[in-house]
C-alpha cells in the first residue's frame, strides 16, 4: 500500500511539473503577442487591421517590436538556463553568469572587438571574453576539487572589477565608440533586429545541449567525488558545462549587453515551485527567464522611456541577492 501511495505521489508531483511547463509555455506565447502590441507608439487592438496596411505601423510591429520581443525571450531564457547550470556546476545557489564575472568578461570581449576590430566578429569576441573569465574564476576558486562559496564570490568580484577597469580604459581611449560600450555595460535590447535574432537563435541549440546534461547536473550538485562514484565523468561534463554556459552568456551579452541577475533570480524562484531536479528546473527556468525579460523590457520601453533593461534587473536583482545571502547566513 505504502509503495502504491508513494508511486501516486511521485506521479502527481511529476504531472504537476509537466503542468507547470505547459502553463508557462502558454503564458510565454500569450506574453509574446501582448508585448508585441504594447509600446510607446500606441497601437491598440482595433487599429491592428488598419495598421497592417499602413507601412509605418507594420514596420514598427515586424521590424522593431517582434525581433525585440523574441530577442528578449531568447536572452532571458538563455541567461536563466546558464545560471541554473552554473549553480549546479559550482554546487552553489549563488552562482550566476553576472555574479561570477562571465557577463563582464563577455562585455569586455565585445568592447575590445568594437574598439579594435570595429564590431567585426563581435559575438565571437563576446563568447571568448565570457569563456576566459569563467575559466579564470573557476581556476582561482577551485581547491582540492571543491569550490568554496566565499572564494567563488570574491574571485567573481575580482574578475568583474578587472574587466570593468579594462572597459573604463577602452571607453577612455574609444572616442566615437563610447556610446556603444556604454550600451554593453548597462544592458538593453533597443537595437534588436532580425539579424540579431538570427545570432540569438544559436542560444537554442546550446540550451538543447544543457538538456542532455540534466541528470549529470543533478548528480554533480552532490560533489565531484560522489558524482564520480556514481559513474559521472566529472571533468568532461564540467568542460562541457563551462563551454555551453559561457557560449550562451557570450551570445546573450553580444545581443543585449550584460543584463544582470536573471540567471540568479529565475532558477531560485523556479526551484521553490518545481524542486531542484534539473530535469524540470532547466526547462521551467528557460520559460520563466524568457517571460521575465520580455515583460521587463516591455515595461522599460513603454513606461520608462526605453531605459536599459539591465538597470531594472539590477535594481530588483541586487536586493534579492542580498536577501539570499542573508538567508544562507541564517540557516
Amino acid at each position: 500500500m505504502g509503495n502504491i501511495r508513494a508511486l501516486n505521489t511521485t506521479i502527481s508531483v511529476v504531472s504537476y511539473r509537466w503542468m507547470l511547463i505547459i502553463v508557462l509555455s502558454a503564458i510565454a506565447v500569450i506574453s509574446a503577442i501582448v508585448c508585441t502590441f504594447i509600446g510607446p507608439s500606441n497601437i491598440c487592438g482595433i487599429q491592428i487591421m488598419e495598421t497592417m496596411e499602413t507601412s509605418k505601423m507594420s514596420l514598427i510591429l515586424t521590424q522593431i517590436r517582434l525581433p525585440r520581443v523574441i530577442t528578449a525571450f531568447i536572452v532571458g531564457g538563455g541567461l536563466a538556463a546558464a545560471g541554473a547550470a552554473m549553480q549546479g556546476l559550482f554546487r552553489n545557489p549563488l552562482a550566476d553568469p553576472y555574479v561570477i564575472g562571465t557577463s563582464s568578461g563577455g562585455a569586455l570581449g565585445a568592447a575590445i572587438s568594437l574598439v579594435i576590430f570595429h564590431s567585426y566578429l563581435l559575438p565571437l569576441a563576446a563568447f571568448c571574453g565570457a569563456c576566459s573569465s569563467t575559466i579564470i574564476v573557476y581556476i582561482i576558486c577551485r581547491q582540492n576539487g571543491k569550490v568554496a562559496v566565499e572564494t567563488l564570490l570574491l574571485s567573481g568580484i575580482a574578475i568583474s572589477l578587472f574587466c570593468s577597469a579594462m572597459l573604463s580604459f577602452l571607453m577612455y581611449i574609444s572616442g566615437d565608440d563610447l556610446h556603444q560600450i556604454m550600451f554593453w555595460l548597462m544592458g538593453g535590447l533597443w537595437n534588436a533586429t532580425w539579424d540579431k535574432v538570427r545570432i540569438g537563435l544559436l542560444i537554442i541549440p546550446a540550451i538543447g545541449v544543457l538538456f542532455f546534461t540534466v541528470r549529470e547536473l543533478d548528480i554533480l550538485s552532490l560533489g565531484d567525488d560522489e558524482a564520480s562514484s556514481l559513474g559521472v565523468n566529472t571533468e568532461r561534463i564540467k568542460i562541457v558545462l563551462l563551454a555551453v554556459t559561457s557560449f550562451i552568456t557570450g551570445i546573450a551579452v553580444s545581443l543585449s549587453g550584460s543584463i544582470g541577475f536573471i540567471g540568479l533570480i529565475v532558477p531560485h524562484m523556479v526551484r521553490s515551485i518545481s524542486g531542484s531536479s534539473f530535469r524540470f528546473l532547466l526547462p521551467i527556468s528557460v520559460l520563466a527567464g524568457g517571460i521575465l525579460l520580455m515583460w521587463a523590457d516591455t515595461l522599460s520601453r513603454t513606461f520608462m522611456n526605453d531605459m536599459p533593461v539591465g538597470i531594472i534587473t539590477a535594481f530588483f536583482g541586487a536586493p534579492f541577492f542580498i536577501y539570499l545571502i542573508r538567508r544562507r547566513m541564517w540557516t
Binding site: T9, V13, F211, D218, E226, S228, G231, V232, N233, G275
Partner: protein, 422 residues
C-alpha cells in the same frame, strides 16, 4: 588468496599528499561474499584507502585490481556498475527529493534523455525497502535527520546493484537499532554473493559482523585476518593505546571488547596486597591494583560473588568457597598464608554477612600487617555500615592501631607508597 578469485585486490599502495605519506605499502584483498571491516584510529588512513579503492584518489604507487582488471581500465560508468560507494558525509546543497537521490544510483544504467525504466524503479524501491526508508519516499532531503540521510545514501549505493560495496563509516550517525539493521542488511547481501568493505569505528560491531578485519595504524596495515586474530588486547593497546578486556558475546559467540576505564590510577605499584572484598565492592580496586602491577591476591570469596568473576577475569589468585558454604579450614590456612606474605591487607566496604565477618575475624586474629579499610562508608561511622560483631572487631582494630581508614583509591595509593615495617 588467488588474485583472480578476489573481487578487489590492493597491492603495495602508497599515497603521498605533498610530503605527507598517508598510506604506505598497503596490500589487501577481499574475496566474493566477504564482509571486510577496516578499523583503526583517526588519521590512520581508513578513508584514504576507501578513496583509492573507489578511484576517488589515485595512489602514488601501487596497483588496485577490481575483478581481475586494473581499476584505471574501467570507464567511470563501468566502475559505477562494479562498485557502489557510501561516502562519510555528503552535503545537501540543493533540495532534492529522497526518490531523486536514490534514483541517482541508477545513473550508470540509464540511457541519455530516457526516463527511468521499470527495472530502475524496482531497484530503487528494493534498496529503499532494505534500508528501511520506504516511508521517506517523496520527502525532501532537507527535512531528513542525519541518520535518515545516511540511510538514503546507503540506499543509493544499493540501487547501483554492484558486486562490491565500499562504505566509509556508514553507521556513525545512526541509532543503535539502525546500526544493527544496516549492518545486517549488508551481511545478508554478502550471503547473496556481494562483497562489502566497510570502515567501522565501533570495534564491537566490527567483530560481530566482519568476516575479516583490516587494522590500520599510521597508514600501514597493522594486522589483518579474522576478528579473533586481529582483535587482541595487545593489538588494541598498540594501535588505539587502550587497555581492553576481550570477552565472548553470550548469544553470538563473537568477541566483544570492554575498555578498562580509569587507567592506572595507582602509581605505587609492585607491592604484594591481599584484598578482602565482596559483593562487587572490590572490583574497582582490584583493577587498579592489577593495572599498577601489584601482586594482588584476594579471598575468601564466595563463588557466586561478582568480585570472584572479576578476579578470574584478571587472573588474580583467589581463595574461594562454593556458594553458601562456610569457610573451611583449608581456606582459612590459605588466607593466613596469603596475609602472611602480603605487604598490606586491604578491606573494602562490603556487606558484612557471616562469611565476611569470618574473614574479618581471621584477619584481626592473625594479622600483623597493616590493614587498610577503604571507602566512604568507614569514614562516616562504623556503626552505620556494620553492626554487631563486625563493628566491634573493626573498632578494636582501629583502637589498637592495627588498622587505618582511607576514603579513596588515591589515599590507598599514598599508603602503598609508604614503607611498612612488618
Amino acid at each position: 588468496m588467488d588474485i583472480t578469485e578476489s573481487v578487489i585486490n590492493v597491492t603495495d599502495v602508497d599515497v603521498k599528499i605533498g610530503t605527507a605519506e598517508i598510506l604506505h605499502k598497503i596490500s589487501a584483498s577481499a574475496g566474493q561474499g566477504m564482509f571486510v571491516g577496516i578499523i583503526g584510529p583517526n588519521g590512520s588512513g581508513k578513508s584514504t584507502l576507501i578513496y583509492c579503492m573507489s578511484r576517488t584518489l589515485n595512489p602514488t604507487t601501487g596497483k588496485i585490481l577490481i575483478i581481475g582488471e586494473e581499476i584505471e581500465k574501467y570507464s567511470r560508468k563501468e566502475l559505477a556498475k562494479m562498485l557502489g560507494v557510501v561516502p562519510q558525509e555528503s552535503t545537501r546543497t540543493f533540495d532534492f527529493s529522497v526518490d531523486d537521490i536514490v534514483m541517482m544510483g541508477r545513473y550508470p544504467y540509464q540511457k541519455l534523455l530516457r526516463p527511468p525504466e521499470s527495472h530502475d524503479r524496482e531497484a530503487c524501491q528494493k534498496a529503499m525497502a532494505l534500508t528501511g526508508i520506504s516511508h521517506l519516499s517523496g520527502r525532501s532531503i532537507s527535512t531528513l535527520s542525519g541518520g535518515e540521510w545516511q540511510r538514503v545514501l546507503i540506499a543509493r549505493a544499493l540501487a547501483q546493484e554492484t558486486p562490491l560495496l565500499l562504505l566509509d563509516e556508514p553507521i556513525s550517525q545512526l541509532d543503535i537499532n539502525h546500526q544493527i539493521e544496516i549492518l545486517s542488511v549488508l551481511q545478508s547481501l554478502t550471503r547473496q554473493g556481494s562483497t562489502v568493505i566497510c570502515v567501522i569505528h565501533d570495534l564491537n560491531l566490527a567483530s560481530q559482523y566482519c568476516d575479516e578485519i583490516i587494522m590500520l595504524d599510521q597508514g600501514t596495515v597493522y594486522a589483518v585476518g579474522t576478528p579473533h586474530k586481529v582483535m587482541t588486547p595487545e593489538n588494541i593497546r598498540a594501535v588505539f593505546g587502550l587497555d581492553v578486556l576481550i570477552k565472548t558475546h553470550p548469544t553470538t559467540g563473537k568477541l566483544y571488547l570492554l575498555p578498562i576505564y580509569h587507567k592506572r590510577p595507582i602509581k605505587n605499584g609492585g607491592r604484594k596486597v591481599h584484598l578482602i572484598c565482596g559483593g562487587g565492592s572490590g572490583t574497582e580496586i582490584m583493577f587498579a591494583l592489577h593495572a599498577a602491577e601489584c601482586n594482588v591476591s584476594t579471598g575468601i570469596l564466595s563463588m557466586n560473588d561478582a568480585d570472584y568473576s572479576t578476579s578470574i577475569q584478571l587472573g588474580i589468585p583467589c581463595i574461594a568457597e562454593p556458594s553458601f558454604s562456610p569457610i573451611t579450614d583449608v581456606s582459612r590456612s590459605l588466607l593466613e598464608e596469603s596475609i602472611g606474605t602480603a605487604d598490606l591487607v586491604v578491606f573494602t566496604s562490603m556487606p558484612f554477612e557471616q562469611e565476611n565477618v569470618d574473614n574479618l575475624r581471621i584477619v584481626s586474629e592473625c594479622c600483623n600487617k597493616p590493614i587498610l579499610l577503604v571507602t566512604d562508608c568507614f569514614s562516616k561511622s562504623i556503626e552505620n555500615c556494620m553492626a554487631g560483631e563486625a563493628a566491634e572487631i573493626v573498632n578494636r582494630m582501629i583502637a589498637d592501631g592495627q588498622a587505618a581508614m582511607v576514603t579513596s583509591i588515591e589515599a590507598l595509593d599514598q599508603c602503598l607508597g609508604k614503607e611498612y615495617s612488618s
